[in-house]
Amino acid sequence: MTLAPETTELKIELALDGDWFPVCDLSTLLPGRGVAALLPDGRQAAIFRDRSGELFAIDNRDPFTGAAVLSRGLTGTHQGRPFVASPLLKQRFDLASGQCLDDEAVQVTVYKVRAA
């Protein structure tokens, strides 16, 4: 264990083009809520943490309205799978697959995410 004071906090990182892109401190992310991150190419990711500490990341853009708001939705568990409900029109998206649970034709991008 290192005693270096500046690296005691775990960082949340997204996999982008084979690299790990740091987003924020793990402690910033409240269990059950999300945050939004701006990616280098201008896209946005919504990152969530469930109550067991598991992390998920999907595109922040709500495909039904175009607004970048999925990070502000409420999360939950549906048949054992984690989801977020869009805060605008309440469609639910599977956090692990990006699949919309209320419209099988709709899916959002999923990102690899880790705490390191």
Binding site: G66, G76, V108
Partner: protein, 868 residues
Amino acid sequence: MTATLGATPTIVLVGHGMVGQRFLEALAERGLTATHRVVVLCEEPRPAYDRVALTSYFSGKTPEDLSMTDMEFIKDHGIELYIGDPAVAVDRDAKKVTARSGEVFEYDTLVLATGSYPFVPPVPNKDAEGCFVYRTIEDLLAIEEYAKTRATTGAVVGGGLLGLEAAGALKGLGVESHIVEFAPRLMPVQVDEGGGAALLRTIEEMGLSVHTGVGTQEIVVGEDGAVTGMKLSDGSELATDMVVFSAGVRPRDQLARDCGLDVGERGGITVDEQCRTVGDPHVFAIGECALAADGRVYGLVAPGYEQAETAAATIASDEASFTGADLSTKLKLLGVDVASFGDAHGTAEDCLDVVYSDSRAGLYKKLVIGRDGTLLGGILVGDAEAYGTLKAFTGSVPPVSPESLVLPAGAGESAQLGPSALPDDAIVCSCHNVSKGAIRGAVTDHQCTTVPEVKKCTKAGTGCGSCVKVLGQLVNAELEASGIEVDKGLCGCFGQTREELYEIVLALRINTYQELLDRYGREEARGGDGCEICKPAVGSIIASLAPAIGASGYVLDGEQAALQDTNDHFLANLQKNGSYSVVPRIPGGEIAPEKLIVIGEIARDFGLYTKITGGQRIDMFGARVEQLPLIWARLVDAGFESGHAYGKSLRTVKSCVGQTWCRYGVQDSVRMAIDLELRYRGLRSPHKLKSAVSGCQRECAEAQSKDFGVIATANGWNLYVGGNGGATPRHADLLAQDLSDAELVRLIDRFLMFYIRTADRLERTSTWLERIPGGLDHVRDVVVHDSLGICDELESLMRAHVAHYRDEWAETINDPEKLARFVSFVNAPDTPDPVVAFVPERDQMKPDLPLLSIGMRPADVLEGSTQR
């Protein structure tokens, strides 16, 4: 002009009241509207309406609410309905009816349903200005106008059913009311001496003056010809500004007399058991204008309906007859239950009475029992809960002893006879003659699963409504019996209703969502993350009860933050492009110029779109997440606080300017609105709460469309509850009248806390009132009469809420950790969300949403991408 007689035979109906409308429905059910031309001549300026519920006009029902006529029905069946055009003459030889408009209709069958007219005793000056009758909506409009502008005292002649309703209505209009009844007791037809005494006591306690055993001798008028008083038969004189005659009705048989039909000695068109007039087989008479084959004129709607059915069946050559009906009635008069059924006065030979009487509590119950134990009839005053079942048992020997049926609950022997004990042929709805068996059949054979469905299917409960409670019990019992389990659970995570969760949270002082889910959630949901339905619902319960269960009253504290919908989480209202709107509280809609300027400056400086809301405040749109704390720092600085426009909580209390400025105002509505808004601000509830206070009966603040609305009277405040605008508008119901300031606040405290306790998630007070068993009466019993003994608790919960209220925005802008959440991007706090963009419109701006690409191709999606 003469309407020519075509190939299709013609039925002409004279009179479009409740019975007339029922007759039309009976014609349609038998297919007669397809084979006949049907002409209806209606004297009143509006089609059939619910005359039984006439008085509810004064508690907020509009004439439209009272209407019983579905114009689609009239149109679909090709019925020719002439409104405001009564029949004036009948030529039976030529089989023609002449209407007032001059139009002449030939008929094959004529049906008279002309109803009755109010009896006005032939006393001097009976037609003076200020004298009224109580029969039509037009009568009520005239009474209302006169009472509001010219009367402080009113007298009602007649202490029967309608007289009591009229007196209550006058009192509701702020007029001191007297009832003058010739008989020695009130409601002489329905109740006996004991019942009359119980009724008298309760009515007098309400502040109405009752004069029994005296007749009216003369109406006294002033120089201008308007009423100033009346002389009574005992020599006394009663000063009054207006007189309402409601001393009974007489059959309207003039049209029949004029064309030579037989009428009874005391009026009424003589008909046989098929409702056919004695002298002319082509003419029928139904309802209050008919003298039935048993020699009686029936003034109740249920026998009238039966006559309508009989006449329609006879015209269709079906067999039917009307040989008489019982005069059972159940009413709520001025809040007092009065019911009589069967042989109420014990006229049968050798019958015996079982009486329970408690004058102190205004209770009187009498059952008339035959020699062999058969229940023959009875009278209930003060508590008619058992009416539905007792009436259905009439004519049979009840399975428990009669005395146990009248004793109050808890008094040893008392027994509750559930409707499940009824035989299948027992009539549950006597207005529409629906048996218990038919109601069970609606559930078992027609797959009805709710009371509204059963009502629609069987018509039960759609007349006077007195059987709806029994109906609900029967439907539930039948559903349970057929093994249909209705999952009433809140969501996939909880099997309990919101009300049950509220009780669990309060009783066990559970103050976190996770504990509630892990201990009381459905087996499969425990340990999980819940869902978007139960999280905010439980968050709201915890917030409502925060002081009582030891939770933080601040909705962004700890775990509570994760439960809130995005609006509550950012304390602002999310709009379609991801921006937010900001609404500071403007209590009662009153705002000083300085504060208006601050709002204007802030909107200008942040480039916000501003709009005045329906709740008398100002909404500022287009704020980005990261702007919210900056905007609120300035608002809080200027003395504003959160308006909770984002919360399921109190929104606004609208007001008119009231007595202070308005020449009509009778109370200070603005002050009351501000007091109420400040008292209940921040109160989390199952759904949003809206309110308003009007300074007089003109109701400019539209209080009757609010969850709780207050209207000023000369004596205080009237409280209305359960109103709603929106997609399903509902006029609020009057909960209590003439309250002092303190009484008003106490009653609203109780009402709101009872609603918060028992409502479903996202259930407005209007739907809640319609849903809960017992409806408004039950709510009134609980919050006014404290029937559940919980009012102290309700009040103390509200006191705790008021004492612990803190402004959420003031708290948030002083908490750096909470403020850190107000960023568009966690990794770029200073960068605004580029998706949030605006374009100009009408001197302001509107959202500019880029074109959407709905969904993504699956190939673009990474599989199994999640990692720890």
